[in-house]
């Protein structure tokens, strides 16, 4: 419950302050957001499995975001930034889908 509240408050804050993305973060933020979404879905699945651990979640969340940003950064340095970020998005998307499928099986048996 409080997690959902946190999400709502975050969205509200974002709408309220209308922050601009710092120029240095611009290429990394979209990837970071997708990576965080992956961590969230993984956490929900783990919770429904009954083996959720907040420490694991925090670590996976932060490391997901950092690794995603790092990959994009390295890609940019190597001149394959756009291709690499596409790859990261694809991998994260597949993971999100498989996690969502597991959640669906838990809740609806389907």
């Amino acid at each position: 419950m409080i997690a959902v509240l946190g999400l709502v408050v975050g969205v509200a804050l974002g709408l309220l302050f209308e922050p601009t993305v710092p120029a240095g973060l611009q290429p990394y933020l979209p990837i970071a957001v997708v990576a965080a979404l992956d961590a969230v879905f993984g956490a929900i699945r783990a919770y429904l499995d009954g083996r959720f651990d907040d420490k694991v979640f925090v670590v996976s969340f932060i490391s997901n975001v950092l690794i995603a940003a790092l990959i994009v950064f390295v890609g940019d340095q190597l001149g394959v930034g756009s291709q690499l970020s596409t790859g990261v998005i694809v991998v994260l998307g597949i993971r999100i889908f498989s996690n969502a499928a597991a959640i669906r099986r838990h809740l609806f048996h389907a």
Partner: protein
């Protein structure tokens, strides 16, 4: 992926219920904090994406975009030049067509007056022939028309009902009436001719001409020069049946 055994649905729902209603544990607070960050970042990114289409793009993407725009610009410029050329050509040809149409229309007007299929206006003469004894027949009438043609008459009508054209013919009938193109002409005859009025006057009045002939027959000729004369009688339009244009 653990797909082997079917998970227990009721247990999962119980966990969801617990999560939504139970007192938040320390772990949930942490999760909430991270969710807050996630929501904030997501909204920020969405706004940034919507604000400006180009801000989030990489350099090579921008270069590609610029190249695409350049080539599109080049293509469109070329296209515009081609279309302008086409427009110029069409305008020229339409001007030529217009000139040809004007020329043809003028020729058609002239020919229509000659063929007697169009009314005509202009200076000319009105010739009145009175013969109380009905002595003026087709001969002097044809003579009068020939004299007028010789003097350059461009449009001739008789009594306002018959247009005299190239194919016109003058006949007498058994009762002493004169017919032009088969149509009876009542006395007195009034011949209206468009042309140079002075020349036409002379053509009628010269010594031994129409006036003298008619007077010898006991009739009287009156010629009046008119500044503006209207020839409204029309000849029937007919197609040549046998004569074809020779090439």
């Amino acid at each position: 992926m653990a797909e082997g055994k079917a998970p227990d649905t009721s247990k999962a729902w119980a966990r969801v219920k617990h999560a939504l209603t139970g007192r938040p544990s320390r772990g949930q607070w942490v999760v909430a904090a991270l969710f807050l960050v996630l929501g904030f970042a997501a909204v920020t990114q969405v706004r940034a994406t919507n604000d400006d289409d180009f801000a989030g793009m990489r350099r090579d993407e921008l270069v590609t975009l610029l190249e695409t725009l350049d080539s599109a610009d080049e293509r469109l410029t070329q296209q515009r030049a081609e279309l302008a050329e086409t427009q110029r050509r069409l305008q020229q040809s339409s001007e030529r067509n217009q000139a040809a149409i004007d020329e043809t229309r003028r020729a058609a007007d002239t020919l229509a007056i000659l063929a007697g299929t169009a009314p005509a206006v202009g200076q000319g003469v009105v010739i009145t022939i009175e013969d109380p004894d009905e002595t003026v027949l087709a001969g002097p009438m044809l003579n009068a028309i020939e004299e007028l043609r010789d003097a350059g008459a461009e449009a001739i009508q008789v009594n306002g009902v018959v247009r005299v054209v190239a194919q016109s013919y003058v006949t007498d009938d058994a009762n002493g009436a004169v017919r032009i193109d088969g149509r009876e002409i009542k006395r007195p005859f009034v011949i209206e001719a468009i042309g140079d009025s002075h020349t036409l006057d002379q053509a009628v009045m010269f010594r031994g001409g129409l006036a003298d002939q008619v007077e010898a027959l006991g009739g009287e000729v009156d010629v009046e020069q008119v500044k503006s004369l209207e020839v409204t009688a029309l000849a029937e339009e007919r197609e040549a049946e046998y004569a074809q244009p020779a090439r």
